[in-house]
Structure formats: C-alpha cells, structure tokens
C-alpha cells in the first residue's frame, strides 16, 4: 500500500495498474440522481431562508454563492475540487468586502502563510506570527488607521483561533506547510458572514476530507443545515417571547423562571448558526463532526461541557488540557486532571475576552463573565473528581429513567441560573433580576 502521509492523516492509496489511486476520487464521483436530490433540498432551504428572512440579507447571498458553488464543485474532477473551494472562499472576500479591504484581508493571510512556511526555526516563526497579530491588534485598538473598520473583526474571526490550532500542529511537524491545506483551512467561505465561528480542528478537517461517500457527506450537511434552520426559527420564537425583559418586568417567580429559561434558550441562535456553518462545509467534502449534541439533555455539568460547542471543548482539550495534564501527571492523575481542568476554564474565559475584543473592539471584563466561567469551571472540576473516583466502566444510563430525568432537570436548573448571571451586564442587574419580583 502506498500512503500519502503528513498533515491530516495518512490516506492509503490503492494500487491500480496505472499507479496509486486515491480512494477519495471514487468517493467524490458524481452521479446525476443523487446530485439532483441534494440540489432540490438545497433549493428548498434557500426558499425557506428567503420566505422567513432567516438572518440578514448577506446570509442569503452567502447561501446562494454556496449552493451555486456546490453545483459546480460537485462536477469537477477530484484534483480540482479543493482548489475550487479555495478560490470560492478567497474570492468571497471580494463579494463581501470592499476591494481594498479584501486585498488587505487576503494579503494578511498570505503574510501569515509566508511566515509559517519559511525555513526559520519554529520559535522564530512563532515570534513573527506574534508580531503580525500585535500589528493587527494595534490596528484594532487604535482604530484610526486608513483601512475599513471591517478588516479587524474579520481578521480576528478567521485567524484568532485557527492560528492557535495550526501552530500547535505545526510545532510537531517537520515538513513544510502546504499552501493548499493552509488556504483551505483558514479561508472558509461562511466565515465572512458568521464572525462567531466554530473552532475547526486542522487535523480533523484534513482527515475528514471525503473520508466516506461524498453523497452521504453532502446529505448529512443538508440535514444539519435543516436542523440549524429549525433552531434559528425557534430562536425567533424565543426572542419574541422573551422580549426586552428587564428586572422591573419580572413580577412573579414564574415570570422569573420564564425569563431565565428563555434567556438560556437564546443560545439556539448560536447552535443553529453552527449547524448551518458545518453543514455548509460538508457540502464541499469536509466530513466534520457535529458541533452540538443535544445539550439540553445533559445530565451533569461535565456532560453539558462535552455536549455544548463540542469544537471548543476539543480545542481546549488539544491545546490546554492534554498538554497541562501530561506535564502534571507525575504529581498524580487526580491533581493533573483537576489543575488541567481549572486551566481550561481560565483560558476559556481569557479567550472569550480576546474574541470579544476582536469582534467588537471592546474588552469584556465583567464580573458576571468571570464568575460564570469560574463557577462553571469549579463545578466541572468537582464532577471530574467524582468521575475519576468512580471504579468500573461508566454506567449506561437510559435517558428516560426517572433518575436521569431528575439529573437532566437539575443540570438544566444550574445552567439556567448560571446563564442568567452570564447574560447580565452587571452583578447588580442580576441581583435585581432575581429579587425584584419579591420586593418590587
């Protein structure tokens, strides 16, 4: 067996009479029937987006470009598919941005590639990347440079987290980063519209590329886009039900509970968007895993952490938890796990502030935010301690037993409470929310 090695995993080539054959070529082979079925579904989705005015108008532009792009991409020979995706994604800059901003944006990405692909030592490349980010952060902070203010949040959205993942993988590779893989990873078309974006893992993305039948991948993508659309529609109901509730609007315990639950359910917008984003990428052959796994049915806080925004959890496990654990394990398994877990939540809080700065230009240093991550981290640590102390295989809990329903309800109650804290701009406002209905 011949093997294509390197980044993203080995692809076993089958040997044919003419030489090695990439199995992904067969998996991406076009067939008219399945193509028509997928395009019909996408057409219906576009109709729903249009009729129900899902998201802003630019979203419909993105989806039309995506569906059109899929239709072309589908019929291309395999060796051109990923280059077409890259061209579509890089070209998206010129659709969604003014020309000069698009040039600066794409140019900054190419500067990043020039740094990471240079023959310099990893430490020097890391410092140079830091320098590039320092320049961009300075631009974000100062805000008076003669460039469009849209450049900064877009640069942040595309590069702030994926650069961390990419550099982590690069640190352990000896070969030179390939331009195609770099561009395919960093320039993701949906990111022009969705600045809040799942942290896609580089290795996972490379490995997942046409890892099974292309029609099955695309169909799953359509399914997730449908799921995301339903969640966005539900979000709209929740948003209107909640309204602009202030503490003064809460006049009873039931009203308080209603506001708190509805505040938590506003998260449907994020999970809906993430489903659409990843579903979109599946259309182009990237068989990525799900981003959320029925988080409303979490039966413990650790379970919640593992179900909600799975990509973030995996990102933290990869670049924070495992490196910390492996360094600390000489002090004992439990100590390593607990310290590593606390570090994860501290870094999550920090990166949340970092992300907000890129996207809004403001530093989100508030007590509700810090307390939310701190308390959640503490509770997850306790959970981890309990899990480590448990002997034997994990109990398979049937989801609908009374005890599990009680656990789900209890977990939901804690999350709803914490979420209301997180959603309050200040501790005083959160306190008012909890107590106004009693004291008036």
């Amino acid at each position: 067996m011949n093997v294509i090695g390197g980044r993203g995993g080995a692809i076993d080539l089958e040997t044919a009479a003419d030489g090695p054959v990439d199995p992904r070529e067969a998996r991406s082979a076009p067939h008219l029937g399945p193509f028509c079925a997928i395009v019909a579904q996408l057409g219906l989705l576009l109709l729903v987006f249009r009729l129900y005015r899902i998201e802003e108008p630019a979203f419909l532009v993105l989806m039309c470009v995506g569906v059109g792009g899929f239709a072309v991409h589908y019929w291309l020979p395999f060796r051109f598919k990923e280059w077409f995706w890259i061209a579509l994604s890089v070209g998206g800059a010129f659709v969604f941005l003014e020309p000069l901003t698009a040039v600066l944006f794409v140019g900054s990405g190419l500067v990043l590639y020039a740094i990471v692909a240079s023959p310099l030592s990893f430490a020097v490349r890391l410092a140079a990347v830091g320098g590039l980010f320092a320049v961009m952060l300075a631009g974000r902070t100062i805000g008076t440079w003669p460039v469009s203010p849209r450049l900064w949040p877009l640069f942040g959205a595309f590069f702030m987290f994926r650069t961390i993942v990419y550099l982590y993988d690069l640190a352990h590779r000896r070969d030179r980063p390939a331009l195609k893989e770099f561009l395919g990873y960093f320039f993701l078309l949906p990111n022009y519209y969705f600045l809040l974006f799942p942290v896609i893992d580089f290795q996972t993305m490379r490995r997942a590329y046409y890892q099974r039948d292309g029609h099955a991948i695309a169909q799953r993508g359509v399914g997730w886009m449908v799921r995301g659309t339903i969640q966005l529609l539900l979000y709209r109901v929740v948003y209107h039900a909640r309204g602009a509730a202030t503490p003064a609007d809460v006049t009873s315990a039931a009203g308080l509970l209603s506001v708190m639950v509805l505040t938590y359910l506003l998260y449907l917008r994020v999970s809906g968007q993430f489903h659409i984003i990843v579903g979109f990428l599946l259309l182009f052959g990237y068989d990525l895993p799900e981003t959320h796994r029925r988080y409303l049915l979490a039966n413990s806080l650790t379970d919640f952490w593992r179900r909600i925004n799975i990509y973030w959890k995996d990102f933290m496990v990869k670049v924070v938890y495992f490196p910390a654990y492996f360094r600390l394990r000489r002090y004992g398994e439990r100590t390593a796990a607990i310290v590593a877990t606390s570090l994860v939540f501290f870094v999550t809080w920090f990166l949340h502030v970092y992300q907000q700065f890129w996207l809004t230009g403001r530093l989100l240093l508030t007590w509700p935010d810090a307390l939310f991550w701190g308390i959640l981290g503490l509770l997850v640590m306790v959970n981890v301690r309990v899990e480590l102390g448990r002997r034997g295989p994990p109990r398979r809990i049937s989801p609908w037993t009374l005890s599990n329903v009680v656990r789900i309800a209890a977990t939901l109650a804690v999350i709803v409470g914490l979420w209301s804290l997180w959603s309050s701009p200040t501790l005083e406002e959160w306190s008012d929310l909890l107590t106004w209905w009693q004291i008036g």
């Binding site: 993203g8 995993g9 080995a10 982590y168 993988d169 640190a171 352990h172 893992d201 290795q203 996972t204 490995r207 895993p289 796994r293 593992r306 496990v317 990869k318 938890y321 495992f322 490196p323 654990y325 492996f326 360094r327 398994e333 796990a337 981890v384 899990e387 480590l388 295989p393 994990p394 109990r395 398979r396």
Partner: protein, 88 residues
C-alpha cells in the same frame, strides 16, 4: 503483523470493557472513530494512554493523542508499533 493484531485485540478488549459495557467486542471495528464519535472522551483517552504506556512500556506525548494517532484502533496500534520500534 501478528503483533499488531494482538495490540488491536488488546485495545478492543480494553475499550469495550471500559467504555462500551454490554457491547460485543467484534462490533468495535478497527476503523471506528473513537474520539470523534464520542466513545472516548478526554478522561477515557487519558485512561487509554495510561493503559498502553503500562502495557507496552512506551511513553506517549500530549501531541500524539490527536486525531491522527488516537481516533481508531488501527491508528493507536500503529502508534504503539512505532514507539516500540523506536525504543527497541
């Protein structure tokens, strides 16, 4: 090749006993995704790391627990084989 099959079977037994109670060992295929499917969470991965380190007298680094090396039984067995070859 026999050694790799032994490693795969040992891994399969460990994973089924620890993380898929009640499941048949033969249902856990070599190419089944363990991490990305949710069979192995982070604590499960660390337990597996500890198991193979003790069983095969190797040391696994943090960066070797990524998707490339630690998502399927085949990949983990290949990692064990590479590490054993380096230390022997």
């Amino acid at each position: 090749m026999d050694a790799r099959i032994d490693v795969k079977n040992t891994l399969r037994d460990f994973i089924v006993a620890g993380y898929l109670p009640g499941e048949s060992v033969s249902n856990l295929k070599d190419d089944m995704r363990l991490r990305t499917s949710g069979i192995l969470d982070s604590l499960g991965t660390l337990a597996l790391v500890s198991f193979i380190e003790n069983r095969y007298s190797i040391v696994v680094e943090a960066h070797e627990t990524g998707i490339d090396n630690f998502d399927t039984i085949s990949d983990i067995a290949a990692l064990v084989e590479r590490k054993q070859a380096r230390t022997s």
